[in-house]
Symmetry: C2
Subunit: 336 residues, 2 copies
């Protein structure tokens, strides 16, 4: 049986190249996967034909005449561009013509369009975006919400936690993922009004709740699923990206500053490539939007072909693992 | 004329060694500076005597019989330990026997004790802790508040901005520092309830307000003073520390993974030291607590002698530059 994944061909910063190459990699690596590439038909046909491995690949182009830009306002894009790649792709998911949708485009627009076209699962007040990233233990951790659900209520945070825990269990095969509440001190009383109220809800949920965790626990692998308000999550994500950029820059500058270290840099180039790959969250296939009726994975604007390939794999896994029926069931049971 | 700085000898993780060595470095490097080392007299006397450079150094030991631990609850420590190094040091500032106080101890306790012993400046609703850190441009940036002023009001953020801008001007000699509001999108309408209301206050203040900035702007040097609620600021700071630790760990692991890169690592060791120093915020001398009647600088628990030395310098500069009278004056004028 074929698993069909719809891919926004025009989302990433260098679209449609990473999308086309990622789709080609995916259909080659994952048997039974078919990709629907969504975008301007004529352009995509020409671009795809230029790839040597395109002949016979299990890829079909689906026409969409509009593109939502990285800096467009989500609300306007959702209402004004009904034939955008995002609308077309998500309608394919809604109509069961694809099991999931992958985009590396405007995150806000993807979330808004998914909510409008697919709708939220029963029991979900606010769908949330979960970011998966590497830790120094070599295992992934997940931060939810990073999708700009600002001014969250304690109940929203409890729902984010339940959805994130189910996803982590299903996708990473961890039987009892640990869950932490992002705060500014370990004791229950530390934090702000929101986290203190959320804490009392979270400790009643029958999962492996570790209590409050701190910012430094994001990257040390001590906790699997970290829950926070979307404002905090978005700031956390962007700070991390900015700091990694700064570290790369400073490191490169330091390495260039002496002849000896230039030789050193040359010799350790392989190690740096290795290091870069371990920091590269594209390995984990982008951020799933949890709590919607369907599967939507949002990749980084800077996604390369490998990131798109992995996001397609994650969309397939997400669908097959039955995350959404479980979210519906467990949220109803937890009554938050 | 002598400038006297009080230093908590028992604050840092490896106290009192970094404090003693930092004090010795400071009195040697900064002419006219005298250090009062606060802590258990007998122990400090013995430890100080063990240092070859201690003879004749302009250092005096002031006895304090209690120490506030890193994990003690601030409120209890403030009320229960009136003879702690922090109480004694801050009383010296209050009584004009020292121009400022430096500690690498429990941040929450330092803030609470400073607020109690010194009190807030007229016009300041909430004193705030400002963190100064390096950027990829080689210049410092400042984040305020990182001191756990949770559930801030828009007025608090406006006051943080004014205090931070004055400090940045005075200490770094930047005539018109730029000020940004930490949010999750550049447009005025982006953010949460708090940032949207703070934005309308900030744009009326006669300083160089850039509007909303994002998490990625923390480390790229594009803005001097970045304002946020203390919950967000604390998370930002801890995430940064955690990520730098993770990067160091991954880098070391990657470099050890091949023989060639081991040789490379050896050759580029100097460059790494250099890199580490550029990331090392101890160069900027710790975090000033702004808005109190006096000068208090809080260093990192992992402070080394160099960090203590720099914090002593910053305390002196802070006092001499007249930051506090300006804060009082400008906050009264701005009426926020």
């Amino acid at each position: 049986m074929e698993t069909i994944v719809a891919v926004d061909a025009m989302g990433s910063d260098r679209a449609p190249n990473p999308e086309i190459e990622g789709a080609l990699l995916a259909v080659r690596h994952y048997p039974g996967v078919k990709v629907l590439l969504i975008g301007p038909e004529a352009q995509l046909k020409a671009d795809l034909a230029g790839h040597p491995s395109a002949a016979g690949a299990n890829i079909e182009i689906v026409n969409a005449t509009q593109i939502i830009g990285m800096h467009e306002k989500p609300v306007q894009a959702v209402r004004g561009k009904k034939d955008s790649t995002m609308h077309v792709g998500l309608r394919l998911v809604r109509d069961k013509l694809a099991v999931g949708f992958v985009t590396a485009g405007n995150t806000g627009a993807a979330m808004a369009t998914a909510k409008m076209v697919l709708g939220a699962l029963p029991g979900v007040d606010r769908p949330a975006l979960a970011s998966v990233f590497p830790t120094s233990k070599g295992k992934p951790s997940m931060l939810i919400d990073v999708g700009a659900n600002v001014d969250s209520k304690p109940q929203n945070l409890a729902q984010f936690a339940i959805m994130g825990e189910i996803y982590f269990r299903a996708i990473f095969g961890v039987p009892k993922p640990s869950v932490g509440l992002l705060s500014i001190g370990e004791e229950e009383t530390k934090g702000n009004e929101l986290t203190r109220q959320a804490f009392t809800l979270l400790k009643e949920i029958p999962f492996n709740f570790l209590g409050n965790v701190e910012g430094r626990d994001l990257y040390n692998g001590s906790v699997d699923v970290i829950v926070c308000d979307g404002f905090v999550g978005n700031v956390a994500l962007k700070i991390s990206e900015g700091l990694v950029d700064a570290v790369r820059f400073l490191l490169k500058e330091s390495l260039n500053s002496t002849i000896t270290s230039q030789v050193g840099a040359l010799l350790s180039r392989k190690a740096f490539t290795n290091f870069g790959r371990r920091l590269d969250y594209s390995e984990y296939g982008g951020a799933p939007l949890l709590g919607i009726k369907g599967v939507a994975i949002v990749g980084h604007g800077a996604s390369n072909a490998n990131a798109i390939k992995n996001a397609i794999r994650v969309a397939k896994q997400y669908h097959e693992s039955g995350v959404n029926p479980r979210i519906e069931q467990e949220l109803t049971a937890a009554r938050v």
